[in-house]
Chain length 720, copies 2
């Protein structure tokens, strides 16, 4: 009882903490993200040549108006900081000049700050006793407030679209959004070896940051060749990234390179009479809390989890990037997987929403996201997942208008059957594969994702009380879904075929559509079994060679209860990379390849990224399908724990929730659970008889049990 | 004969000159204009407080790709200058780093330069022997060129929208668009007078620029109060614009203010121990060639023409601005009139296209231009006028896609009758007036302008060979036009009524719709006479008090042959401002107002702009309806000269054409004409018998004559 009181008190304290408002820099929602994404994505170089994205890059609104209605019990002085040229109106009257301190009298008042900036995102920071800039402030990019010949202002209550301001963690007046930069920390190489005319440095593992020369003197040129492998660093002609540093005595003695790079190895060749004491680096990172964890009796699996987490840590930066060496771009399909992994490791929600905003950009929509049709659909799907894991309904409100306009773009591109075919300029990607996959006409994979996206739209419309669109999206989804089987199911192959061109079904069967049909639960039990045996577990079926699609294939197998099989696949596939010395997981891995093949891709000897987000999927698989934790209502208000050992003797781990974590230890004889929030249901099977001191175990029959899990309590179940 | 040969030779030389390509900075069309418009329109201050526009300000594309296919007879070295971070591809292969000199081999080649810049408009300047960056280069904001896993680039021939590059006169590698600034020249006040605690300077006439203090020393604060009138400058509490300059000994001795202002008078009040030798200014201007001219026997009319030209000169700057003191914004309705005046004075085409681009901004369209419904329609109308006067078909090609999307915005906002009513956020402006004009429901004025805009769309669609839209716009126009009379013509008032609300015609008759119905030639002769006598010449009808609508009223009267009446109106209305000491023409003038009333507007004692573009309409009226010169096919390929003395004894003047001018002297006994280009037809009436040595005068009967005018020949007609 005392404990309960304590918990209630703690909960009140937490609520008060959350309720206490903090002033923060605010801006038009998405504008900081779009500005930052422009910077980040235009950093790519290819052996010193600038290599920008090939899709439209948007920009922020240069002129916006922030406003807030306040009611003050007593007068209040507020301070104001602004990025840009600005004016302030209190109750529709201009204050003179550019005020930085403003006295607001008691009573009801309207504060308006209008800001123009062409180079940086217009932003403000307001701080008073009770008045503080935050996302409750409204913002618009056209206030439409004209003044007539008599000096009367127009009625702005109609016609102007106000939205809630965007914000992040810029909570100090001295850290405006334009100053944003990731932090760095110094690191040193673990070894150096003379090679040919130069010196090869090894940092011990894949890393990311700015090379630094200490005690530099002399005159000449330093050539810097970066490598994820020693082969790459030493290949001065083919390494993917390089730099050069002109040196003369006028330079300061310690020089840090201005471009960040990914590498484990660095090969330095000096040209001229110059020297330096040592080489180090400034490791650049996004501060992340690793709330998720996983341990079991299998050290290989533990190593795979740790290397996965490190891979995801490196690729989780300003945004969820694909990989850190080459593109460093925001790819929707790659990011979609990162989000899911993130929910089982760092639970960094701002990184998710930043990425979703950046991918979407602004209206008008002129192409698919990243120009890729499937990537548009992953974008929709990611939003509902985000809501499910975080319960962040505010974000849905903010992004919903952009979801609608994105979906409108899709809807205008349907064929006569209401399906989406690749039109000129559309990239139908699906996966990298060695076999020739047909992408013509109506591709079944795209229709499945389109169907799921329509479901997401209907759900979000419902959340936003947009009943007209909810019905529209629901109808569209039903219509499309009803066509999927007649259009793409083959009774001969007992599987979905790849595509249909001019009404004629192809005979090609690929794993992709079949995997997603399982994941989306679109199948009856017969078809499920057909796909499981004929496609997923069939060694003669087309095999996947990217960790990207391995992710979904293994998830589908887990969803079908094949945890044991999947664990063996993880051991051999990811274990295979570890045996080859991987310190992070790769963009592509074909166990049949050897030597130089392992590093090559895109027709280039070192084209392959050796630190690729989509390589880190074991984090997700182990958290979701082994620890078995997932929200059942948004934000883990309720959730399920369904552990599966998959052949392990024991496992334990934590899965993050919005304000804490869920802990599970699981073996055949001992189960421990604890959660910081929400109400969970533990489902488990046991041949032995389980008992728990403070929990009510319900026997569901056939050795299946259930037990409710309350927040803040530790449960121990012993099975004897 | 010799003369003909000389002319032919000159023509060849001119063609060669035009054909010789000049390298110029190029950018995405409209992007420089949008960037510049952001700067210009965010310069407004209201007594030191920043006062930005209330409509959406767009921005340029931050990432664009320029390309050009070339065929070289021999190898060529090109030099490259870029604003932004960039890469270069020749024949789909990257050049390393950031090349500034590139050797292009002989043969066919594709040059691609991709540029990223967040702060300035991405732009390039390429110069070789034959390869020169100009508007023949293509540009896109999304090249959609992805590379597959094998390293093969995608096919970019489909899906990517390429348009011709934008350019102006940035013909030197050292003058990139971002360096653009109008030139200045020093000017001094004509008098100074001690007033109260300060000094009042008079520059003799309205001017614009940067105040400069020479020989400044001491410590304190200088207060600068600007005035278009002495009353305004001396009103330290109510003058519309002011500045202050902190002075201490560390300052350089000569200080120029950083903000440009409009003024004739400056009142200086010193605060502290400080002094200066003298005050001057840097007059800022757009270099303009005043090709248009007008002289006649009436010195008042001559003065009106000169002051009009000076007014238009001051408001014709980076863009055609409304006025120079207050808004300094780009208002579509104001600009529309400036364009027309410009065709009869400076013929500065780049200023027209800059303004049209700036007004349109980018997609998506979220409101009417300047939020004003009528201003959207003027924008459409201005484009066809521009084509008619300049023959610049290239501009139509460039702007046509933006016309279509702007018209789409309008079409989605029609009511059940296919008419446009003011929706929330729409400003139905028409004119400033002292009487309460109804703007509810279907306003007849707006439907007329909408109808005309649809005509323009059909014409431009035809020019662009867009037959589907040509038919659509034609059908829409016919449909709307057929409804105008039933909806708005009153057989009781014998005029168009103001509006119709929920199907019920109002009884209010205003001049506006009736004026435009005359100008658009939408009326039969009976209705024309009804409007002429009942509205336009009726002293009891509602009177116009802005030069803005005077423009159209007087144009309509001239179109009906009332040149004599109009000339008297010009004498009294514009002459009235001159008698009150105007050195430029005003935003509003009501001959019944006196004293302080003359300066007040918008509820402020000095709110009225005394140098307003729409005040300069006599330039247009005298050129078009007295000299009587207008193109009859685009770009003055053919044109008409129909002089009307309107009671004058003689007049002479020039009207600019794309590559020259047309000169006319006209009296009852002597006519002289000369033209640099095109084929003209002189129409004139004479009670005496006209004869011409080198022209064929055709007698059309009823004292009407016609004569063809060939380019480069001088004609003298004597009437005896």
């Amino acid at each position: 009882m005392k404990r309960t009181i304590l918990l209630v008190l703690m909960s009140i304290v937490m609520q008060l903490t959350f309720a206490q408002k903090v002033a923060t820099w605010i801006y038009y929602p998405g504008d900081f993200e779009i500005w930052l994404a422009n910077q980040v994505q235009n950093r790519r170089t290819d052996r010193g040549t600038f290599f920008p994205p090939f899709w439209k890059m948007d920009s922020f609104y240069v002129l916006v108006e922030f406003s807030k209605k306040v009611t003050l019990a007593k007068p209040e002085d507020i301070s104001l900081r602004v990025e840009g040229k600005y004016n302030v109106k209190i109750d529709d009257k201009f204050l003179p000049g550019f005020p930085t301190k403003i006295a607001i009298p008691a009573g009801h008042h309207l504060i308006q700050v209008k800001v123009y900036d062409q180079a940086n995102v217009p932003a403000i920071y307001v701080n008073g006793t009770t008045i503080k800039s935050d996302s409750s402030w409204l913002v618009t990019y056209e206030d439409k407030e004209w003044i007539d010949a008599s000096g009367r202002a127009s009625d702005t209550s109609t016609g102007t679209v106000y939205v809630n301001a965007g914000s992040w963690n810029f909570n100090s007046p001295d850290t405006p959004p334009s100053h944003f930069k990731l932090p760095t920390t110094p690191e040193s190489p673990v070894s150096m070896t003379k090679k040919d005319k130069g010196m090869l440095y090894d940092f011990g593992k894949e890393t990311f940051g700015y090379v630094k020369f200490n005690g530099l003197r002399g005159k000449g040129l330093i050539h810097i060749y970066y490598g994820e492998s020693p082969e790459e660093a030493l290949s001065t002609h083919y390494c993917e990234t390089l730099d050069s540093l002109p040196v003369d005595n006028r330079l300061p003695k310690n020089v840090t390179m201005t471009d960040s790079k990914a590498f484990r190895y660095i090969y330095i060749v000096k040209d001229g009479q110059l020297s330096y004491h040592s080489l180090s680096m400034n490791y650049e990172y996004l501060p992340l809390q690793q709330t998720g964890s996983f341990k079991c009796n299998d050290t290989l699996i533990n190593k795979i989890w740790d290397v996965s987490a490190y891979t995801l840590r490196l690729t989780t930066r300003e945004f969820f990037l694909d990989g850190i060496k080459r593109d460093r771009w925001i790819w929707s399909g790659d990011a979609y997987q990162s989000y899911l992994m993130n929910y089982y490791s760092f639970f960094n929600s701002p990184a998710v929403t930043r990425t979703i905003y950046a991918l979407r950009g602004k209206n008008p929509v002129t192409s698919h996201i990243n120009t890729i049709m499937d990537y548009t659909f992953y974008w929709f799907m990611s939003i509902y997942d985000y809501y499910q894991y975080t319960g962040d309904k505010f974000f849905i409100k903010q992004i919903y208008p952009r979801m609608k306009s994105m979906m409108n773009f899709c809807l205008t591109r349907r064929d006569a059957n209401g399906m989406m075919e690749g039109l000129p300029g559309d990239w139908v990607f699906i996966d990298w594969s060695d076999f020739k996959m047909s992408k013509a006409g109506e591709v079944s994979f795209e229709q499945l994702l389109f169907c799921r996206s329509l479901e997401v739209m209907a759900s979000c419309a419902k959340l936003e009380n947009d009943t007209i669109h909810e019905k529209e999206y629901n109808d569209l989804e039903k219509g499309l879904r009803s066509k999927l089987f007649t259009a793409f199911w083959s009774n001969k192959a007992n599987a979905f075929i790849q595509n249909r061109v001019n009404g004629i079904k192809s005979t090609q069967v690929t794993p992709y559509t079949n995997i997603f049909a399982v994941l989306f639960n679109y199948l009856d039990s017969t078809k499920t079994e057909d796909i499981k045996s004929g496609v997923l577990l069939n060694p003669n079926a087309l095999q996947i060679t990217t960790p990207y699609m391995q992710f979904y294939k293994l998830a589908a197998l887990c969803a079908l209860g094949e945890q044991k099989h999947v664990l063996n696949d993880i051991r051999s596939y990811w274990g295979g990379m570890l045996r080859l010395g991987a310190t992070t997981f790769w963009e592509q891995y074909n166990p049949n390849e050897k030597g130089a093949q392992l590093l090559a891709m895109y027709g280039r000897p070192f084209g392959k990224s050796l630190c690729h987000a989509w390589g880190a999927s074991p984090i997700y698989l182990l958290g979701k399908y082994y620890l078995g934790i997932r929200p059942t209502t948004p934000g883990y208000k309720t959730y399920a724990i369904e552990p599966h050992l998959g052949g392990l003797q024991w496992m334990e781990g934590t899965v993050p929730t919005p304000h804490g974590k869920i802990y599970v230890y699981y073996s055949h004889t001992l189960i421990k659970v604890r959660s910081d929030e929400g109400t969970g249901v533990l489902h488990f099977s046991s041949l032995l008889k389980p008992s728990c001191e403070n929990g009510d175990i319900i026997n569901k029959g056939h050795h299946q049990y259930e037990m409710q899990v309350q927040a803040g309590r530790s449960y121990t179940i012993t099975c004897k």
